[in-house]
Symmetry: C2
Subunit: 428 residues, 2 copies
């Protein structure tokens, strides 16, 4: 009998990928032709399309519209196993990944760490309860709850001062996330909620965007930054640049010596890498990013790679590659190609080169700014392109249809489809 | 000047409605022509379409697809104010409704209590952590999390026994909710998850429906109950009738002397009215329902009405009106008509008469049973009618489109669109 005569193949090498974000997922998908068993571990069962998370926080989309089970994305890849688990430690000497609550560590031959970033308060973690950041679905739903509860509480406020505080929203940080959040909160007040309250006009809500630097969207060319500012102001957002936050508390912020009373704060001012540098015992920069070799491996340990927001990757110009989805995807694909060659006994590819396609940020439902190097756009054309790009990169046909229909609906009616106060919080 | 010469109108009487479910909402809408100020109070900001909540619990729909802000539904009614608040007490002598965290009670001239029902463990509240019921969005998401986590944990189970326990799902209670839940979990395993795991086949999951009585769907004629049973068995559900639950714990249930090991239990066995009888100091039956007069007012207090699942209303046949959405809607509309007449100085309408349109329950994605008196249907025709009826009664055009598209998509692909493990629970 054939089956008895053949000697069994040696088990193929085991590639463990930690993290199912843009970097990890693209690495797993890129390994389709590799002679490897692949295990992808994430503490969530879904890949999250982070660029649209602010739309969950502002009641426009449901969490499921921008998330897709990792298992479902990869089910056809028979050499890939998906594990729901939380990494507790990595033992590089023994090549083991330890998962919380599981006695049996994963033994790897090659390891890819792609655990992303969380928001950072630059040493002021005590601000977090007052000014939540926007990194997870739960955080987005908590922000949605705060924003919506503030309007509800304003309807029953006992004093005009209290109502004013409830109707003031401060977004801290003038990068793309802060700009998108501020624009979306302003539209929520001016379009969706406008006529719904009896004791005040929701259009009177104040939305402030606070940025320490001299310009919002500092990664864009100044003329586009200025256009974004004007678009925000057109929506009614007060843009306070050169305004550095000194304190956040339950009643607002102190910034550049001035007290701003507000019941709802949103933190969009900074991120730090996840704790992977600690697990790996690796050198990290001040933002917690692991310094990697030109092939994205850990210096001195060619079996371990770090990619995405967890890694400090230097571009051809010597500057750090930005912490955005396209960069993580390129890095994931690069490591997959490298491993495929290594496992096939072929020479390694040339060092990783980052290709920067462009920068995009949206302001409300009909304006955006876009910097594609020689091509710069703003206003409606940029917004249409922004929408097209995001629909295109969203994973799953069903999600694309639902998000597109939701946007079309909102565009023509001003309505937002997910205005629910759910979960429990101290606010209610 | 006219405005100065006219004496101001006396403020119109104040109708306070507690609860924005089917009863309260229909009452508020029915008061559109009444000379009244109306305040509707709910502890949630949204009306929930409860008949489809099981689809949230089984990952087919997102919460926002079956919910709509009460404020948004009623914003055109200029005489209606919506208040987000939790009722703590009612003072019938002083005609006050006290809200939690608010010093200023609502003073009513007429009060409508429509606070619905919650699930009941018949004195065994200790079972709740092991066998959650399905009444709120949060509970539905918790059940979704448990069901999905059970499959994930089965992929990394250490022993075959543990895997078997993880892949066993017990739904307790053979009414419409239990039948719908059991069918949906079975389809989730057999269609959506079938190919996605590497260490087991999700189609091997066991789904059991446990019912104490001799038949499932006891409110239906026995031939339809039998058809429902066969449809469930066709989906792979084991239907255990005549099986009374003695204990629920973290490892399963004991029922009719037999131990069933299961990591996931769902409670669909019974409901009890909300605590309104206590607030009102009113007489209640064993299920907590307030006994009402033929005009749905509280006996001895014609200013107070109790409707929906909170009330024990007797039909023309002397039997209690069932706790279903159409009954609550009819009662809400009746009280609105009565109040409109009363406030207009006209004689009251004749006593409330309940019109029973029919009973409906669905089993999976292409079968249902339907009892419309002379017309009885089962199988695909009943399922199509079930779908049409539910889309029709869902509130909001956008929700109708999204739910309809979601169902069509699922029908042809077997996919479910909201397979996220969110929130935090002890399970992970």
């Amino acid at each position: 009998m054939r089956a008895e005569q053949s000697t069994p193949d040696p088990e193929p090498p085991h590639v463990v990928i930690i993290g199912g974000g843009f970097g990890g997922l693209n690495c797993a998908q890129g390994l389709r032709g590799a002679k490897a068993r692949v295990t992808i571990v994430d503490e969530r069962n879904f890949h999250l399309f982070q660029p649209l998370l602010y739309q969950v926080a502002t009641a426009a989309l449901s969490p499921a519209d921008i998330a897709m089970p990792i298992r479902k994305i990869l089910w056809r890849r028979r050499n890939v196993k998906v594990v729901l688990g939380r990494v507790e430690a990595i033992d590089r000497a023994a090549r083991l990944v330890h998962l919380a609550g599981d006695e049996r560590p994963l033994r790897y031959d090659h390891l890819v760490v792609a655990t992303g970033a969380r928001h950072s308060y630059f040493g002021n973690d005590a601000w977090e309860p007052f000014a939540p950041g926007l990194k997870t679905i739960e955080a987005a739903l908590a922000i949605r709850r705060r924003v919506l509860v503030a309007f509800e509480r304003a309807e029953t406020a006992e004093t005009p001062e209290e109502r004013r505080r409830l109707l003031t929203f401060v977004v801290i940080g003038g990068g793309p996330t802060g700009v998108e959040m501020a624009g979306a909160i302003a539209e929520l007040a001016r379009l969706e909620l406008a006529e719904e309250f009896r004791d005040f006009d929701a259009r009177d809500a104040r939305v402030m965007l606070v940025e320490a630097g001299p310009l919002i969207l500092p990664s864009f060319p100044p003329p586009l930054s200025e256009k974004a500012r004007r678009s925000l102001e057109h929506l009614g957002v007060e843009v306070l640049t050169g305004t550095k936050v000194k304190t956040c508390d339950a009643d607002g912020i102190v910034a550049s010596g001035r007290r701003l009373e507000a019941r709802t704060l949103v933190w969009a001012a900074g991120v730090a890498a996840s704790g992977a540098a600690d697990w790996l015992g690796a050198e990290a920069d001040r933002a917690g990013r692991v310094r990697v070799a030109p092939d994205l491996s850990l210096p001195g340990d060619p079996k371990v790679f770090v990619i995405g927001d967890t890694a400090l990757v230097l571009g051809q110009d010597g500057k750090p590659v930005p912490g955005i989805a396209p960069a993580a995807k390129q890095e994931g694909a690069y490591v997959a190609k490298l491993l495929e060659r290594r496992l096939g006994g072929r020479p390694p590819p040339p060092p990783f080169r980052y290709h920067h396609a462009g920068d995009l940020a949206t302001i409300g439902r009909s304006s955006a700014v876009m910097d594609f190097g020689r091509i710069k756009l703003s206003g409606l054309p940029a917004w249409l392109l922004w929408g097209g790009v995001h629909i295109f990169f969203l994973i799953g046909f069903r999600n694309r249809v639902i998000v597109l229909l939701g946007w079309l609906w909102s565009y023509f009616t001003g309505e937002r489809g997910a205005r629910l106060i759910t979960g429990t919080g101290q606010e209610l």
